[in-house]
């Protein structure tokens, strides 16, 4: 384990430091005093574990491909945005657009996540132990979201594919989002994923998927489209 103090360093200096340490073969890095700076650990590759001892700002661990990132604090907007692969854990709360457009990997939030969580996600898994905000899963295309707490309004609005499991209350389903029964595969996936995330599985999950009525335009369903748009 290598520990470095980020106090007084700019975002660029911190990210270069991590890259240099990774290139030198370090596999476990702990960074002190990140003071919620933006764009930390963006586009980090390889088999490395980085722990931030404090909160992160916007876009933390965006576009990463492989690493394990632990944020021991809160994350600002768009944490793990467009992650390709890897594992990001936020021990506190996460802001809006959490896990936006991720393509793979696993994002775990132990607190609550803000509005538009998992917006346009294209793969991977997002697990939120608390609640999520308005328009979570908007235009989701693939992947799985597990929300143990409550989901805000317009959940899964205009989603194409993918699935959202909600353990608490759903304030309101979005356009063309429907609830369907869980399959055995779903139950197994939930049990495995929550176990790996070190969370209990004591929830009565509902499963939200696309109703697929917005897939193709039909003049007969004009009302549906007017409402959606």
């Amino acid at each position: 384990l290598t520990t470095r103090d980020c106090g007084g360093l700019t975002t660029r200096q911190i990210n270069l430091l991590v890259r240099e340490l990774t290139a030198a073969g370090e596999t476990d890095i702990r960074l002190l005093n990140p003071v919620a700076q933006h764009n930390l650990l963006v586009a980090l590759f390889g088999n490395v574990r980085v722990t931030l001892d404090g909160s992160a700002g916007y876009f933390c661990a965006g576009m990463i491909d492989g690493p394990t990132v632990v944020i021991d604090g809160n994350a600002g907007w768009s944490v793990a945005e467009n992650m390709m692969a890897g594992r990001v854990t936020v021990n506190g709360n996460a802001g809006s657009s959490t896990g936006a457009t991720i393509r793979g990997g696993t994002l775990i939030v132990r607190g609550n996540a803000g509005a538009r969580t998992g917006i346009a996600m294209k793969g991977g898994t997002i697990v939120v132990r608390g609640d999520t905000g308005y328009m979570t899963g908007f235009m989701m295309q693939r992947g799985t979201m597990i929300i143990c707490g409550d989901a805000g309004e317009a959940l899964g609005d205009s989603m194409y594919l993918g699935r959202i499991f909600v353990g608490g209350k759903i304030a309101e389903l979005g356009n063309d989002a429907v609830i369907e029964p869980l399959t055995e595969d779903d139950q197994t996936f939930l049990a495995d994923t929550l176990d790996q995330a070190e969370m209990t599985n004591g929830y009565d999950f509902k499963k939200v998927v696309a109703g697929r009525r917005l897939w193709n335009f039909s003049k007969k369903e004009m009302g549906l489209w007017i409402q959606a748009l």
Partner: protein, 315 residues
């Protein structure tokens, strides 16, 4: 973009270093816009004393403009202190006239003179450019008070000049100010509706409307909470805004929550900023943060303060 900050000491009278935390947060939020920076600070109340912050943007030397202001006030007010700081003058006065008459008298002395605040405690100072200039030119880092709000501006709808910078005083309602991040899409309609009733606006900025809109609600007897709740229904567009009154600070966010806000709260104070990095850089002691959700309406009052808002000189 735009950056918002707020800071409040919970205990009454609870005056403490106020300029320093607010300006430090604004320093960091310069990344969200440097078209303008401003603060609305609440200093200690002194019975019978009112304070005005006046920008000297006229053509003549500041000293000449101040002389004219003093002359214009002499029939209306007894001046207690006149302190010139660069292109601002801070006037302490006692008077039986209302804020509207006093502000009009001062601005009537020179077309370049702009009254940014006039009240018992509220002091607004704003400037085109980053926070550093506010700190250096007006010595605001030494300001002590109970609470305040601040703003860094990225202009979108209205022009870049000092009059269009935030915070906005809810002129002529004393001691009410607003900072806002967002755009009101029904601004012109709402403003016209108010103008039909004889309400005057001093800028083309939609954020000024929020201040005056809320002040009218308060003057009509609404609580700050009710006024903020109403705004969620009546204002269209995107907004996260903070309003400050002598009681404390209020927050409202629209249904879409596209304009950020982070809250930190301890037993002694609450702090708000558009980004957590501003809180972490400005405040050394440990604290927890969270992001208030969409449609949040919240008011933080100083403990032990139950003074009702008395609208003086509403029209």
């Amino acid at each position: 973009m735009c950056g918002l900050v707020g800071f409040l000491y919970k205990q009454a009278p609870g005056e403490g270093a106020l300029g320093e935390p607010i300006l430090s947060m604004l320093d960091v939020l310069g990344s969200r816009g440097t078209d303008g920076t401003g603060v609305a600070l609440y200093g200690p109340a002194r019975p019978g004393v009112r304070v005005a912050r006046v920008r000297l943007a006229g053509k003549d030397a500041p000293r000449v403009q101040v002389d004219r202001i003093v002359k214009s006030l002499s029939p209306l007010a007894r001046l207690i202190a006149v302190d010139v700081q660069d292109d601002y003058v801070r006037v302490e006065l006692s008077s039986d006239s209302d804020a509207a008459a006093l502000a009009a008298a001062m601005e009537g002395s020179d077309p370049g003179v702009l009254v940014f605040s006039l009240g018992e405690r509220l002091e607004i100072v704003k400037q085109v450019g980053p926070a550093r200039e506010l700190r250096e030119r007006y010595g605001l880092d030494h300001f002590r008070g109970t609470h305040g709000i601040g703003h860094t501006r990225l202009a979108t709808e209205s022009r870049v000049d000092v009059a269009h910078c935030h915070p906005f005083w809810a002129r002529p309602f004393p001691d009410i100010a607003v900072v806002h991040n967002g755009q009101l899409t029904n601004y012109h309609k709402m403003r016209r509706r108010f103008e039909m009733r004889g309400v005057r606006f001093y800028t083309e900025n939609d954020s000024e409307f929020i201040a005056i809109y809320l002040a009218h609600k308060l003057a009509a007897g609404a609580s700050l909470e009710d006024a903020l709740e109403d705004s969620l229904e009546e204002l269209d567009g995107t907004f996260t805004y903070l309003v400050s009154t002598p009681e404390g600070i209020g927050l409202a966010r629209d249904a879409f929550a596209t304009k950020p806000m982070v809250l930190a709260e301890t037993d002694r104070w609450i702090a708000l900023a558009s980004e957590e990095v501003a809180l972490r850089r400005a405040i050394a002691e440990p604290f927890e943060t969270r992001e208030p959700g969409a449609r949040t309406v919240r008011v933080w009052r100083r403990l032990g303060v139950r003074a009702p808002l008395v609208p003086v000189g509403a029209h």
